[in-house]
Point group: C2
Chain length 561, copies 2
């Protein structure tokens, strides 16, 4: 790059060279830079460049939104602290340069000093359907870096993406971030959730928060907290303290704030050979009795307290697996049935009281699909008007999704055969002679009602709106992977949830197909290995999906090359 | 206990009361005291008593065996530091008293100050078949506590049992240990192992050590280290440094000490629809070529180095899944076959060279069953004399065990359908369209060749000598659960191994049947929940087997009450 011009011009040229023409530096770079979920559109100018992140790097956020300011600080800290070392470390020519913090030491090039956030509607509230789109631009040579978004929530999505464009360069002992990058990104579905069951098993708050942090990193936006179930009631409610006092697993196993029941305390399966006579779908029998007046008193208190504790727009009112055997065993209900009542009308009595209460608190009620679709016990549409109701699927794959949307309801898809994360580890019931069998068990369920285990590919490939017309598909608001916890606690939580939840996260954010419309699971494999590696570095004990051997040998671990 | 005798006698009696009649104290006690594996015989005098463990508690061991002295210190420290809080904490009358450290403060009773080890043969070496039996006695009121054993290794088993008789009593702020206990214990099988595959995935040494510690707590006695495989060779060998230099996953992924191969680097499955034409059983092709002279040079160096590094009596020489397609694709082998050679004779050439080398180093060679039983490629018995050979099973359940013992070989049982811990999480191969299927996957394998996942009950109920005559059964030396690691690394290791390995540990230590000869899996459930809880407290992130709800309600979570 030497020049024969006069001294002054030479100096100018030299300065401009130092300031704007990136200096060559050899360093490791992830190939390609991996953002998970894959953005809707992304380009990285060739030849690939990176810029060093200044040790004083910060995020410039508009003031007025405390969450956004907090996120700005959090991500600036992450940028500098993470020191992510990619699995694949080929040496490539990565040019370094940059602006925003002034020139660095001679020969080192300039650095990226800050990222600017530009938000149109700073006060748009966080609710279902909020605009989460963003654009991210890091100019070549790092002259500037900007996230532009309609809302603070979109800006946070952009911050997460920005954090995934950075990595630690050991040779330079610096954080580098890709430069010459342009991203436009927006989710396909507004509801992208994880359901965690803290009724079967208590999870310390720290584990829940770590899970929520991991969800945010995956651009998931709904934490469906299945707080209570028949086994435990860990939620302290001001108006019903006895629920947690008597129902939690113990003093240290509650979530503070802070006569009723049929077949309570009964053995769940009186006759193992007669499944229809069961009192519950699994050990832990007991269903609210809709004939008991006190049921409604407690229900009302619970709804009031919970809607005060949680400002979210959706209230999940359950209603899955109403077991006829339990109600049929209750004397008061037997008398009701003898008078001409039906179990369906009994459920409708309950739902018919719960639903208006929920709506009066300005919430949309979410029920499991059973409330409408169960063969034996279901309610009429009048009890659950579509305008104020969303149904969550779990059974019969896309067929039930179709039934739901054709009935005019919005759907959250959690089909067990794809999205139930607990499947495949047998069943927790004891004294089960089925396992005492010297024959091969290949091809059997291994005890799990919804087995086999759903691999990340199974989760990834699922089309939540598969088989629907375009009009029907409009009612599918998204999906949730479900972590039922009969056999899961904090010791193993991360590995059961991640990275399989990441697979759904991408499918619902930017889809599971490439630009030609073909499923892109093959191409997603190495990206998910990289993303899983990154999550582990961030403290999430996610399960690996392939031996490391595969990551260094593209295609060699495929079934079909 | 008041008496009308004279003052002096009264004083004596009072003193004796204080010193020898335990004072009543209410405290939590695990019900019943849980030792896993369940001892061969154990009695706890009624009413159940416990004695406080002195803060100066120590283990008195004979000098002369450094391992035993180390264990004595380790367990004494564990007794005082563990502070195990049982899951089930009913308040029961547990009397406290004791001796060995003098009387404690008035009203607190005496304490247990030490445990004595008595060993007949202090210098018996640790090897296959060594005597691991022991007797443990803690006298009522803790007057004395003794472990008596034939060898130091049996004494260590007794120390572990002793540690499991202790728990933390919050109310007393003290460690208590059951008193009035008598145990006699010995293993059914001499070989009770875990195989860990560090060829597919590297595991940091700390994770391996933690695993070995957990094995010791479960009285398992064989760590089968599957150190290398086609994907990586992480073992640094002085005579063949290039193996780890080129074969490990990286500098930080080796186990220090500190032109050869067919189809190396080839894609493993040229035609996904033609399984017989595969070059390997899974991604990562390459088999040693027995026609290459250098193969024997390297093999010899490896055997010499490894037997120098590891003093154990068994040397595992592999020989599973020899893939015909790989050798058939090798030009030198094609020429050999054209001259009338066979793949079996080719394998026999290799094994015929390896076996004598192993024997010359005073080792017993262990091979996978395939070396004898594979349909396509196998050796004659002359290459693997039963006197110096043990075969490890993995296929076809008890049928192959029977074939092996009937051929006169000792067997280590690892039948995949029972003991393979990796089964049930799909397959790691990428670009697999089988997962892209909108239909239910219930009742399918979910991609795992050996699925479903083997539950602890499945592992527990397996009889490694099932279907054999008493004479045949004598050749079954034990079993190993196998942790293949294509999809497992340190982040999820503990949950995949434990507590399922514990299930095998008990079945092979004291069996899986009760005194009447019936399988005792139902009774084992709560005990395993307790043991798993204890292992978690000791730092092992074992998977839970039932919701906590079950532990407080005996029988309520059974399939059949």
């Amino acid at each position: 790059m030497a020049t024969k011009n006069g001294g002054f011009v030479a100096l100018l040229l030299l300065l401009s060279f130092l300031l704007s023409s990136p200096l060559p530096a050899r360093c490791d770079a992830p190939l390609p830079v991996n953002v998970w979920p894959k953005p809707t559109s992304m380009s990285w100018a060739e030849p690939h460049m990176a810029v060093r992140v200044s040790s004083s790097f910060h995020v410039v956020a508009p003031s007025g939104n405390a969450h956004l300011l907090s996120a700005a600080r959090r991500y600036a800290a992450l940028l500098l602290a993470e020191r992510y070392r990619p699995l694949v470390t080929p040496a490539v020519n990565v040019t370094a340069g940059g602006a925003g913090a002034g020139a660095g030491a001679a020969g080192r090039g300039a650095e990226l000093g800050y990222l600017t956030l530009a938000v149109s509607d700073l006060h748009a509230p966080l609710q279902h359907g909020v605009d989460e789109s963003y654009a991210l631009e890091i100019l070549p040579a790092g002259a500037a870096a900007t996230v532009t978004a309609a809302t603070a929530w979109g800006a946070m999505r952009g911050l997460e993406t920005f954090s995934q464009l950075a990595w630690w360069c050991g040779r330079e002992r610096a954080v580098l971030v890709a430069a010459g990058v342009r991203i436009e990104d927006r989710p396909l579905y507004p509801h992208r959730g994880l359901m965690l069951d803290t009724g079967r098993t208590y999870f310390p708050v720290a584990d829940i928060l770590r899970t929520i942090d991991a969800m945010a990193a995956n651009k998931m936006n709904v934490f469906h907290w299945h707080i209570t179930d028949s086994q435990s009631f860990p939620l302290e409610l001001p108006s019903e303290p006895a629920l947690a006092e008597k129902g939690s697993y113990g003093d240290g196993m509650r979530y503070t704030v802070d006569d009723l029941v049929s077949c309570a305390g009964e053995f769940w399966l009186p006759d193992a050979s007669d499944w229809p006579s069961r009192l519950a779908a699994e050990p832990g029998a007991g269903q609210l009795n809709p004939l008991e007046p006190k049921t409604y008193q407690v229900m009302s208190n619970v709804i009031n307290d919970v809607t005060s504790l949680f400002p979210d727009g959706f209230y999940h009112a359950g209603a899955d697996e109403v077991t006829p055997g339990c109600w049929n065993a209750d004397p008061s209900i037997q008398r009701y049935l003898a008078r001409g009542g039906t179990l369906s009308r009994l459920l409708e009595k309950f739902v018919g009281a719960a639903h208006p209460l929920i709506v009066s608190r300005n919430r949309t009620a979410v029920y499991w699909e059973d409330v409408l679709l169960d063969q034996a016990v279901n309610v009429t549409a009048s009890a659950i008007p579509p305008e104020t109701t969303i149904l969550q699927t779990w059974n019969n794959g896309g067929n039930n999704t179709r039934l739901i949307v054709r009935a005019g309801y919005r759907a959250i898809v959690s089909s067990a055969s794809f999205y139930y994360l607990d499947c495949g580890h047998g069943d927790f019931a004891g004294n089960d002679s089925a396992y005492d069998d010297p024959r091969s068990d290949y091809g059997t369920s291994g005890g799990s009602w919804c087995g086999p285990y759903k691999t990340w590919q199974r989760v990834y490939d699922y089309d939540v709106a598969g088989g629907l017309t375009a009009e029907e598909a409009r009612l599918v608001v998204g999906g949730e992977v479900a972590m039922w916890t009969e056999q899961v606690d904090a010791a193993v939580l991360d590995g059961r949830v991640w990275p399989r939840a990441s697979a759904m996260a991408e499918a619902l954010w930017s889809g599971n197909r490439d630009a030609t419309g073909r499923k892109r699971y093959a191409e997603a494999t190495d990206r998910l290995t990289d993303w899983r590696h990154r999550m582990v570095g961030r403290g999430v004990r996610a399960e690996p999906i392939q031996p490391l051997w595969c990551r260094n040998r593209p295609g060699m671990c495929n079934l079909v090359r």
